[in-house]
Amino acid sequence: MTDKAAIGFWHWLVGAWMLLVIYGAFFYAPTAQGFVGESARIVFFHVPLAWVAVLAFCVNLWTSLRYLARRDPLDDARAAAAARLGLVFSVLATVTGSLFAKVMWGEFWNWDPRQISIVILLLVYAAYFALREAIADEERRGGLAAAYATLAFVTMPFLVFVVPRIYFSLHPDTLINVRGSIDMDSRMLQVLLAALVGFTGIFVWLYTLEVRLARVLIERQQREES
C-alpha cells in the first residue's frame, strides 16, 4: 500500500513540475537574442527530448548487456521498453528540431549533421524493432536484439562526434559550447535544467510502468507453467 502511495505521490510531483517548466518556458525565461521571434523557447522542449532519446539509448545498452550476461527475460523487456521510449522521444526531438529549423532557416530539413545524427538514431531504433518482429523465439530474439543494440551503440559516437567535425553545422552551440563555458542567460538556464529534470522524470515514469507490466506478464507466464 505504501508503494502505491509513493508511486501516486511521484506521479503528482512530475505533473506539477512539468506545469512549472511549461510556465517557466513561456513566461519566466527572457526572449533569447539572435533568434527569430520567440522561436528559441523551443529549446526548453527540444533539448530535453533529445537528451531523453540518448538516455534511453544508454539504458537500452545497459539492459542489453545485462541480458547477454544473465539471460533474465525481464532485462530483455527492459531493453525493449527503453528502445520504445527512445523511438518516441527521438521522433519528438526530430519534429521540434524541424519546426525550429523552419522558423530560423526557412526549411524544415537542411541535412544538418545534427539532424542526420538524430535521424540515424531513429533508424537504429526502427531497425531494432524490425529485428525483434522477425524473430519468433523469445530467447533468440532477446540475444540477437541485444547484440544489435550493442553494435549500434559503439558506432553512434562516430556519428555524433566525428561526422559533425567533417561537415559545417548550422546547429546552435550545444548546451556547453566549444569554449567550455555555459553561455546562456541564467533564467533560461534555470528553466532548461528544470525541463531536463522534468522530461527525465517522465521517462522514468513511463519506463517503470512498462517494466512493471512486463514483470507481471512474465510472472503470470511462469505461474501458468508450474
Partner: protein, 208 residues
C-alpha cells in the same frame, strides 16, 4: 583417445510457454550406448542438442568430464560428433571435400586415403567420394552426414534418428558403426526404431 563422461542434472528446456524437458538428470559414459526414446515432441532431439552444447538449457547444466577433469564449453566440439535430421552437409562440395573441411575445423589434417576409408566404412564407394553431394540420393547424403560425425574419432557420439533415409543395408552400416564405437566412445541414439533401441545398454524414456 581420452574417455569422456557427460553428466547432466536438473536439465530443462522451454520454448516460449511450452516446456519440452524438465528436471532431467543422468550421464553418458564411455563404452556405453544409451537409447533415448519417446513419442514425437517428447524432446529427444532437444536433449541431444543440449548435450551437444548447441542449445542453451532453460534450467540445469551439462558438463563434459575427461578423466574427471571438466572440459570447457568451447572445446566440446573437438570431442563430440553429432548427426541429426536438421543438419546437412555442403551440397556444392564433394563428399571428400566435406570430410576434409570438417576434419580441418577440428584441427586434424587427414590424408585423402584416411578420409576415403571413413566413407567406405559407411558404405560410400571411392568413385562417389569425389562427386558433389548435390548429386547424391538422400540415403547417400545421410551417410556423408554420419561420416562427418565420426571423422575425428569422437569420444562422444550423438545420433538423432540415424537410419532415417537409409535402406536395409544402411541400417546394417549403422549397426556396424555403433558396434565399432561401442568399445571406446560414449554413444547416445535418439530413436523409436525397436531394432536400434536394442543396441542400447541403457535407456532414457521421455514423455509420459
Amino acid at each position: 583417445m581420452a574417455t569422456v563422461r557427460i553428466t547432466f542434472s536438473g536439465l530443462g528446456k522451454r520454448f516460449g510457454s511450452r516446456t519440452v524437458l524438465k528436471g532431467l538428470s543422468g550421464e553418458l559414459r564411455a563404452r556405453c550406448v544409451v537409447a533415448v526414446t519417446g513419442p514425437n515432441g517428447s524432446g529427444k532431439s532437444t536433449l541431444l542438442n543440449l548435450l551437444a552444447g548447441v542449445m542453451r538449457p532453460s534450467s540445469g547444466s551439462v558438463s563434459y568430464l575427461a578423466t574427471d577433469t571438466p572440459v570447457p564449453r568451447h572445446r566440446w566440439h573437438t570431442l563430440s560428433g553429432v548427426a541429426g535430421p536438421d543438419m546437412a552437409v555442403y551440397e556444392e562440395l564433394s563428399a571428400l571435400e566435406n570430410l576434409r573441411f570438417f576434419a580441418r575445423l577440428r584441427g586434424l589434417a587427414r590424408t585423402d586415403g584416411e578420409l576415403e576409408r571413413v566413407l567406405a566404412d559407411l558404405g560410400l564407394a571411392a568413385r562417389d567420394a569425389r562427386r558433389l553431394v548435390a548429386t547424391f540420393s538422400s540415403g547417400m547424403k545421410q551417410r556423408v552426414k554420419l561420416a562427418q560425425a565420426v571423422v575425428h574419432e569422437p569420444a562422444v557420439l550423438l545420433l538423432d534418428e540415424p537410419s532415417s533415409n537409409l535402406d536395409e543395408t544402411g541400417h546394417d552400416t549403422i549397426a556396424a558403426l555403433v558396434k565399432s564405437l561401442r568399445g571406446r566412445a560414449a554413444v547416445a541414439i535418439a530413436t523409436n526404431d525397436p531394432r536400434e533401441m536394442a543396441w542400447g545398454d541403457e535407456r532414457i524414456q521421455l514423455g509420459n
